[in-house]
Symmetry: C2
Subunit: 130 residues, 2 copies
DNA sequence: TCAACAGGTTAGAATAATTCTAAACTAGAT
DNA sequence: ATCTAGTTTAGAATTATTCTAACCTGTTGA
């Protein structure tokens, strides 16, 4: 399925810029990127697109499920007086965090740590809504 | 242990502002807050402190372990072409994310969802370093 | 006790990510 | 071909956070 069809499938008008972005992004491989890195890629291909459009498009793509946005618990830094290792519920309605004691969560399986690395902690975020 | 002692314990000079903040924050209860909410609290108590100082202090408190900073994977929004449910390694050296297949992780225990809420997904972040 | 200075505080400027605005453009329906 | 609603854009606006540079204050040691 080409990108124009993909865009039509989700009721997005296949404009030049959306096609450009979709070609960069939706090539079947799993990728992580930011608005900036995408713009660099596009520019280095000799084409051009404004950052505002990239944000517009990526947000649209997310809202129709073509992309996912990695959880960043909002834009402000949240501090926690609980300095011991623990996990969180995230109330999606309010953005509020609730602590979860580490022994409330147990793992029956964890992936191998990539070669040359060591684990530096496991954080679980359970998203909840009303 | 009073807040002045707590500050001395971690080699931070107990200045007026740090004492003020420590009293607000380190009262033994677990709390989540932002620089802004702390400033509001202080101001509504009739006292005053600049936002820059709050950031300075909170960051110092974090660096000495009095506080924890909730993981926000950096300040830029990261998008992911993998829209299916999955988890991530976070390479702390570079900020890079690596996908983890959901069946690479299993739970033997999960906490009860708070009353009136339903789960809306569980995200695991495994922090790794070289 | 107090001078001296290293470290802390501050207002306001700077930075950076993201969104908004309003004017110009364009895909798709007629 | 034309019209219109939806898009794109440059640049301004916004927001969180850090930086700057001048001023202030704990602490040390004489």
């Amino acid at each position: 399925m080409n990108v124009v069809e993909k865009l039509r499938n989700v009721n997005l008008r296949p404009t030049k810029q959306r096609i450009l972005l979709a070609k960069q992004i939706l090539d079947g491989k799993n990728k992580h990127f930011t608005a900036e890195t995408i713009q660099k890629e596009v520019l280095s291909n000799g084409q051009s697109i404004s950052l505002a459009t990239i944000y517009n498009c990526l947000n649209k793509f997310v809202s129709v499920g073509l992309l996912k946005q990695i959880d960043q618990q909002g834009e402000v830094t949240i501090f926690d007086t609980n300095v011991s290792h623990h996990h969180h519920f995230l109330n999606q309605n309010t953005g509020e965090l609730i602590d979860i004691d580490p022994d409330e969560i147990g793992f029956s399986k964890l992936p191998d740590i990539p070669n040359g690395f060591e684990s530096d902690g496991v954080e679980v975020l359970i998203k909840i809504k009303e």
